[in-house]
C-alpha cells in the first residue's frame, strides 16, 4: 500500500442509510418484497452495531414490534405450522368457501395417474396439506398417509389433532413412489379419495366441510424459515420479551421443514434445501432454547457431509466450497453443539446455562498456541467454549486445519484493477478461490474464522481498508466492491463483519456475536429472558 490515504469510517452516513431503509425502500428493491423481514433485520442490527438503535423513538420501536408480530402465524389463527412471513404479500388472502382440493399436487382427481411420471411432490403436498388438515374444526376426519419409518412425526400430528379435536386415521404408505432426494416427506392425504368422501361409519361425525378444513387464510400463506429467524432476531434487537411468539407453532414450522437428509427447506410450498436454512433452524432453536423439534444428529451429519476436498463447506455434499455456506455450517455446528449439550439439562439457572456470556480470548483450533497479540479490541463473545469442544469433536484436527487454511486464503493481496475500481484496495475477502473480493465475506469468512478462534490470523488492517473502500460516501451504506452501489445486505454484513473482527473502535461499533450475528448486547438480552425456563 504505497502512500494511499487511509479511508475514514463514515459512521453517520451509514446510520442515515440504515434509518432510511427502515422506513422506505426504492422501487428498484421490489425483488425484496417477500423478504422485507430480512431487510428489517439488516437495518435494525446495523443500527444497533453503530450505537444508533437507541435513537429510534420508542413509539417507532413499538410500531416495528407490532409489524413483526403482524407477520406471525399462530395456532390460534388455525395454523398448525407457524413461523413468520417476510412481508404482507398474501397475508390478507382468505380462502373462499369454494370447495377446492388442497395444494396436494399429488392427487388431484383431474390429473391422470401416470405410473412412473407421477406428480408425487411430497414437499409441496405435505406441510401445505397439514396447514389445511389441522385447522380448528372439530367435526372432520381425514385419512392420512404417512411414510414408513417416520414414526416420530405422527405423534406430533396426533398431538396437534387432539388439540383441535380431530380424528385422524394413519396408514402407512407401502406404495411410496420413487422418493426424490431431499424431499420432506411427511404425510399427505390418501390418494384417490374425492374431497367429500364419506368415511366408514364407525368413526366420529365425518362430514367433511372442505371450506372449513382450511384455516381462514390461504394455504399459500406460509411462514419462511429465514423470515422466522430474522423476525426473532429483530424482536430481540428491539428489546422485546418474545412473550407473544407462539413458540410451539414456530417449532412445528421448523420441524416440518427438515428433510430426511438433515437439511431444511425454507417454506411449506417447497424450496431448495441447503446450509442456509440449516443455519436458520439452528438460530431459531437457539433463541427459543428448545431443540426438541429438530433432529440434531441428522442436521450435523448434513453439515459435515458438506465438507469438500478444498477444505471448506459447500451448500450440499460435493458442492463447491463457498464462504457463505462455510459460515452457515460452522455457525450451525456451533449452535447445534451447544443445543445438544443443553438438551438434557433440567436446571434453567444462569450458572448452568452453558450459553452464558463468556469473556473470550481467541480459543485455538487445536490445543496449540494462537498468536493473539496484535488483534484489535477483543469482543466479549457469548459463544461457549464447551460448545467449541463439541465442534472440534465433529471435525478432525486435519479437517480443522484445512478449514482454517481455506478461510485464510480468501484474503486477497491483489486489488481490482479495472477502470471503474478507482478506489479499490487489496486485503478484501473473496467467497471462493479466483473470485473477486466482496465486502459481505468480511462477515461470512471473518465470523467463521472467529468461531474457529483464528480470526486474528487475517491481515486486519488491509481488510479494514478494503471494506471502507466500498463505502458509498453519498448515500451511505456499503457495496460489494468499490465500483458498485450500496445495498442492505452488503451494508449490514460489512458492518457486522468489521464488528465481529473488532476492526473498528468500540465507540463506533459494538461487538457482535459471530454465531448469532447480533450485537452482544442483544444476545445478553436473550440470555436475560432465560427462555429455557419458560414453559
Amino acid at each position: 500500500m504505497e502512500g494511499k490515504q487511509d479511508y475514514i469510517f463514515l459512521k453517520k452516513r451509514h446510520i442515515s442509510y440504515l434509518r432510511r431503509s427502515l422506513s422506505i425502500l426504492p422501487s428498484s428493491t421490489a425483488n425484496y418484497d417477500t423478504s422485507r423481514m430480512t431487510v428489517l433485520f439488516f437495518s435494525l442490527s446495523g443500527l444497533d452495531i453503530l450505537h444508533a438503535l437507541d435513537d429510534v423513538p420508542e413509539q417507532e420501536i413499538q410500531e416495528i414490534v407490532e409489524w413483526i408480530y403482524s407477520l406471525q402465524l399462530t395456532s390460534e389463527d388455525g395454523y398448525p405450522c407457524g413461523g413468520f412471513r417476510g412481508g404482507h404479500c398474501v397475508t390478507n388472502v382468505a380462502a373462499e368457501a369454494t370447495p377446492q382440493d388442497s395444494y396436494n399436487i399429488g392427487h388431484s382427481n383431474k390429473i391422470k395417474q401416470q405410473t412412473s411420471n407421477q406428480y408425487n411432490d411430497h414437499q409441496m403436498s405435505s406441510v401445505c396439506q397439514t396447514n389445511g388438515i389441522l385447522s380448528k374444526n372439530s367435526n372432520t376426519e381425514l385419512d392420512v398417509r404417512i411414510n414408513e419409518g417416520d414414526s416420530s412425526i405422527p405423534q406430533k400430528l396426533l398431538k396437534m389433532c387432539n388439540g383441535n379435536k380431530k380424528k385422524i386415521n394413519l396408514s402407512s404408505d407401502t406404495n411410496n413412489a420413487k422418493g426424490l432426494s431431499n424431499t420432506n416427506t411427511v404425510y399427505s392425504k390418501s390418494d384417490g379419495k374425492p374431497p367429500f368422501s364419506n368415511l366408514s361409519s364407525n368413526q366420529e361425525d365425518i362430514h367433511l366441510q372442505f371450506s372449513s378444513v382450511y384455516a381462514s387464510q390461504s394455504p399459500l400463506d406460509t411462514g419462511h424459515i429465514a423470515m422466522t429467524y430474522t423476525a426473532l432476531a429483530s424482536l430481540l434487537l428491539l428489546g422485546d420479551d418474545l412473550a407473544r411468539v407462539d413458540k410451539e407453532a414456530v417449532l412445528q414450522h421448523v420441524a416440518s421443514l427438515q428433510c430426511p437428509d438433515g437439511s431444511f427447506l425454507s417454506n411449506a410450498g417447497g424450496s431448495e434445501n441447503d446450509l442456509r436454512f440449516v443455519y436458520c433452524a439452528a438460530v431459531i432453536c437457539h433463541i427459543l432454547a428448545d431443540s426438541s423439534a429438530i433432529n440434531i444428529d441428522a442436521a450435523v451429519t448434513y453439515i459435515t457431509d458438506c465438507l469438500g476436498y478444498a477444505g471448506a463447506l459447500g451448500q450440499g455434499a460435493l458442492q463447491e466450497s463457498h464462504g457463505g455456506s462455510t459460515y452457515c455450517g460452522v455457525a450451525a455446528l456451533h449452535l447445534l453443539g451447544a443445543l445438544k449439550k443443553n438438551a438434557g439439562n433440567v436446571s434453567a439457572s444462569k450458572d448452568n446455562d452453558a450459553t452464558a456470556t463468556n469473556e473470550t480470548d481467541n480459543a485455538t483450533v487445536t490445543s496449540n498456541v494462537a498468536a493473539n497479540d496484535s488483534s484489535a479490541a477483543v469482543a466479549a463473545s457469548s459463544y461457549d467454549s464447551e460448545a467449541d469442544t463439541e465442534l472440534h469433536g465433529l471435525l478432525s484436527p486435519r479437517e480443522l486445519d484445512s478449514l482454517v487454511r481455506w478461510l485464510i486464503m480468501r484474503q486477497q493481496d491483489t486489488c481490482d484493477t479495472t477502470p471503474e475500481a478507482v478506489n479499490a484496495r487489496e486485503g478484501g475477502l473473496q467467497g471462493r478461490p479466483n473470485k473477486p473480493a466482496d465486502t459481505c465475506y468480511t462477515f461470512w469468512v471473518g465470523a467463521a474464522l472467529k468461531l474457529l478462534g483464528c480470526e486474528h490470523l487475517l491481515d486486519l488492517n488491509s481488510l479494514l481498508q478494503f471494506v471502507l473502500s466500498t463505502q458509498d460516501p453519498v448515500t451511505g451504506g456499503l457495496a460489494k466492491h468499490s465500483s458498485s452501489g450500496a445495498d442492505g445486505l452488503h451494508t449490514y454484513l460489512g458492518l457486522s463483519g468489521m464488528a465481529v473482527l473488532g476492526l473498528l473502535p468500540l465507540q463506533d461499533a459494538m461487538p457482535v456475536d459471530p454465531a448469532l450475528n447480533m450485537t452482544c448486547r442483544a444476545v445478553k438480552h436473550l440470555r436475560d429472558l432465560n427462555l429455557r425456563s419458560r414453559r
Binding site: 428498484s28 418484497d33 477444505g311
Partner: protein, 341 residues
Amino acid sequence: RKRRRREAQRTQRGSLYFCVPPSCVASTPMTDFEVQEDKTMYPFSTNPEWSDITPLKQDDGPNPVVSILYSKRFSESMDYFRAILQKDERSPRALRLCSEIIDLNSANYTAWHFRRACLKELDSNLTEELKYVSEITLQTPKNYQLWFHRRKLVEWLNDPSLELEFTAKVLESDSKNYHVWSHRSWVNQHFNLWDGELAFTKSLLEQDLRNNSAFNHRYTVVKHTTGFTREVIQSESRFVFELITKAPNNESAWNYLRGLFDTNEFSQHDEFQRFTEDVISGTKSVHAYSFLVDILMRRKQNSDLLRAVEICKNLGSELDEIRVKYWKYVEKLIRQQIQDE
C-alpha cells in the same frame, strides 16, 4: 435479444418490464407464458379479461416499516394476484398472471408455488413450461426459485435431455454461477448421466484454468464414476500438473491437487512432492510452497518438519506477507509437532 436483456438488467432491478424484442426478430419461438411487450395484461383495471375480478390491495397494517415504493404496475399486478389466490382460481389467465408477477419479482416464491399448482390443475404442457423457464433464466440467472422450479419440472417430466446443453449455455455468460453448477450436478446424479462430464470440465478449464467451479465439478464427476483409484489419481494429477505448469500459482488447481493427495492414503506422495519441488525451483508460487508444507507435515521426520518451518518463515516474511500471522501460526504448530515427537 441478449443485449436488450442485459440493458434492461442494468437499468432497474426488479422492474424488467419489456425486455423481450418483438417476435419478428426472435430467434426462437416465444412460449405461451412469457410476458411479451404487446401481451402484458397490465393495466388490469381496463383489461376486459379481468373485469370480473375485484383487486385485493395489500394490507401492511397501520404502521408499516421497510416499505417498498412499488411501481403502479407492480401494485396492481399484485392486487390481482391476491384476488386470484383468494379465489384459488387455477386457470390459464392465472398462469399468465403468475408470469407477470415473476417478471416483476422473480423471488416471489408464492407466485412460483401457485404457478406449479396451476400447471397441475391445467395439466399443462410441461415442455412448454420448461421453455418458458429457459427463456427467462438469463434475466435472473441467480434466482433460487427459478432453479428450484426448473428442477421440479425436470422431475415431473422425468426428462433431463435438455439440461446439460442448457446449463452449458448459461455457463457461457457466467462460468461460475453456483446455481447452474448445482443444477447440473443434480441432473448428473439424479439421472445417472455422467458421459462427457469429465470432458466438459476439461473444455471449461481450457477456456479458463482458474475456474474453481469447473475443478469442483470434476471432483464430483470422478467421485461418482470411477472413484479415486490409484490409476485415476495418476491421470488426474497429470492433468492438473499440466494446468499448474501454465499458471503456477493458481489456487484452484492446487486445491484440486491437494484433494487428490488427501483422497488416497496410499497416493504417490513422492510424485506429488517431486512435481511441487519442480515448480518452486522455477517460480515462487505461494500455493506450491503451501502444498509442500502440507506434504512435509505428513512426514514425521524432523528434517522434513524443520524444512517446513523454514518454508513458513519464507512465506510469512517474503512470499505471502499478507498472511504473515497465519504462517507464524503454522510454524508454531509444526514446532509443537517436533517437540511432541
